[in-house]
């Protein structure tokens, strides 16, 4: 392609990307400060921070939902790490004949349409009195998060040369000590990546929370949904913007910690 053509094309593509990413954002931003905006006006007729105030009011539902969401996301992250570290290590190191089957099994929840899956889960949870409880929601999010975290943990452990562990054994370290002083630190970047991912997935998760948690456990996405369904687009926009904060933080973290080296390891 000639240079004369390339530059305009790039500019157009870039412009499109900016529009696709920032168009909706701008819309959200405008809605969040629109106190009155009626069709067919192009812009709100009345501007102000009234709805922000409503959301951030100490007694407001939104802040409560945000902290609940963060708390659930933290518990989910802890639970999925606690499961995916041993599972990933066993899958990466053990010479299991059915290893591919197990790895596929972890993909199963993703293979089916999520709605029937969650309705079924909700029914099972009902039997255990888990519906409408934080542990129930955490459990659903963990099952969802494990799909990714087990795969990422397996890749992170598989990327570690067994000789690095053997060298520690050779120097006199027992198996547990070798795991904590050599294996785990070397797998840490991959595990951190999977933890961040699970955290954000949990923060965002809607379907499972809806069927298992609602109406008692009201996470931020549920609040957002309620607000939007109730026609309160301002509250919905502000909730969406709040949800955006951790995602942006994640991008920055990825930038800082997951330099080429780690990604290359994951790819192996």
């Amino acid at each position: 392609m000639s240079a004369a053509l390339r530059w305009p094309l790039r500019a157009v593509l870039l412009g499109l990307a900016v529009f696709v990413i920032f168009g909706p954002l701008a819309n959200l931003l405008i809605w969040s400060v629109a106190e009155a905006w009626f069709w067919p006006n192009k812009l709100p007729s009345q501007w102000g921070f009234r709805f922000w105030e409503v959301v951030f009011r100490p007694t407001g539902r939104a802040m409560e939902s945000l902290w609940l969401s963060v708390w659930i996301a933290l518990l989910t992250t802890a639970a999925s790490l606690a499961l995916s570290i041993p599972a990933g290590y066993a899958l990466a190191r053990g010479r299991l004949p059915w290893r591919p089957v197990v790895l596929l099994l972890f993909l199963m929840p993703q293979a089916f349409p999520s709605l029937p899956v969650y309705i079924n889960i909700a029914q099972i949870f009902f039997a255990f009195d888990l519906n409408g409880t934080v542990p129930g929601v955490v459990l659903v999010h963990t099952v969802h998060g494990l799909v990714y975290s087990v795969w990422i943990a397996t890749a992170a452990f598989a990327a570690i040369e067994p000789e690095l562990e053997q060298a520690a054994r050779n120097m006199g370290a027992g198996a547990p000590r070798t795991f904590f002083e050599v294996t785990l630190p070397l797998a840490a970047p991959g595990l951190v990546a999977s933890a961040i991912f699970v955290f954000l997935e949990s923060l965002d998760e809607f379907t499972g929370s809806f069927f298992v948690g609602a109406p008692e456990v009201r996470t931020l996405p549920l609040l957002l949904y309620n607000a939007a369904a109730g026609g309160n687009i301002q509250i919905a926009s502000i909730s969406a913007l709040i949800l955006l904060v951790p995602s942006v933080a994640f991008m920055l973290l990825v930038e800082r910690f997951l330099k080429g080296e780690v990604m290359a390891k994951l790819g192996r």
Binding site: E161, E163, L164, Q166, A167, A168, R169, N170, M171, G172, A173, G174, A175, R177, V182, P185, L186
Partner: protein, 358 residues
């Protein structure tokens, strides 16, 4: 801190594939043994079995008389230098070297002192705070060696630690390792597939062939009296000529053959040999080129033509076609391609084996 290492009829397999087929070896305290063999013959497998990363199907391994076959790798008192070095990238040079001492619960000051001592010994002063990923191959190799030496192991296992190094550094490191091992008096097994490396470093050489020991002995014995065609070829006697001969007292009489003239060699030939086919191995540097018609006493003469010449330095290396076969012969004088010559192999340069016995 050196100990006797006894390897007693060790057999090791990967799945159904038996790789070590009964290996026995006695290494004296402070002795340096080179384990030499071609790629895939089981050298690494033997080291890993000794270190405890693989469990033997049969046999015993004893250190200082104590059977350690059932012990996990961390309780064997061995230090291994891996071919890949296996340095921990999340630790500095000093942390790598001091790791074994930390496991022994030495206090910080004592570890620091010892690590500095080791780094100085390996000419790595000032590298303690470096990340191991910032080191050259030769430096990494020395860190790996330092990590193994720091714990003053009873037995040091070296798995081709020099194979990743440039030829020039390799020479230096050979001498360093040998000098360190001697001054510390450590029992060592050094795995290599480099014949010269084994020759210059070892007190004793063990030749491993397809999971079995082919020959054990001091370097000069292995070099001058290889006990089988395999060992002879492995030690560089790669020219092979088949002859018919008959024993006559303390000499053998060689019948004229496809490539060779008749000859009388003043040596008895292989043990128990009376008459029949022999396989003779000789080195390119142990043979000479003579003029086509020349005859020498007590030598095997192989008349032929020069088909190739190269100058690797010092002497010329000629490829001489004799009948169906070709021989490599070193000679100081320059000759032309196509020249008719005779390869002269003095009787004592021939390694003779009965044909059929391998």
């Amino acid at each position: 801190m050196s100990a006797r290492l006894e390897i007693d009829r060790i057999e090791t397999s990967y799945g159904a594939t038996r790789v070590l087929k009964g290996v026995s070896l006695d290494v004296a305290p402070g002795e340096f043994v080179a384990l030499l063999g071609s790629s895939g013959c089981g050298k690494t497998t033997l080291l890993r079995t000794i270190a405890g990363f693989l469990s033997a199907d049969a046999g015993e391994i004893r250190v200082g008389g104590r059977d350690i076959s059932g012990e996990p790798p961390d309780r064997r008192g061995m230090a291994m230098v891996f071919q890949s070095y296996a340095l921990w990238p999340h630790m500095t040079v000093a942390q790598n070297v001091g790791y074994g001492l930390r496991l022994k619960k030495w206090d910080r000051a004592r570890i620091d002192a010892r690590v500095n001592e080791i780094l100085a010994m390996l000419k790595l002063d000032g590298f303690g705070h470096r990340n191991v990923t910032q080191l050259s191959g030769g430096q990494r190799q020395r860190v790996a060696l330092g990590r193994a030496l720091a714990v003053e192991p009873q037995v040091l296992l070296l798995d081709e630690p020099l194979s990743n190094l440039d030829a020039r550094i390799r020479e230096d490191v050979r001498h360093e390792i040998k000098a360190l091992q001697k001054s510390l008096g450590i029992t060592a097994i050094h795995v290599t597939h480099d014949r010269e490396e084994a020759m210059v470093m070892a007190d004793r050489i063990v030749i491993l062939d397809a999971g079995q020991i082919a020959q054990v002995g001091p370097p000069e014995t292995i070099y001058n009296a290889p006990n089988s065609p395999f060992v002879a070829a492995f030690m560089g006697a790669t020219n092979v000529v088949r002859i018919e001969a008959e024993r006559s007292g303390e000499a053998i009489v060689v019948a004229p053959g496809a490539g060779n003239r008749p000859a009388r060699l003043a040596r008895p030939g292989p043990q128990g040999f009376a008459r029949g086919k022999l396989v003779a191995h000789f080195r390119s540097e142990a043979a000479e080129l003579a003029d086509a018609g020349a005859d020498f006493a007590d030598s095997l003469m192989l008349p032929g033509r020069i088909v190739q010449a190269a100058y690797p330095g010092g002497v010329w290396r000629y490829s001489v076609a004799v009948g169906e076969s070709q021989f490599l012969v070193d000679a100081p004088e320059k000759r032309a391609l196509g020249d008719a010559v005779a390869v002269r192999v003095p009787a004592d340069a021939l390694h003779l084996y009965q044909a059929g016995a391998s």
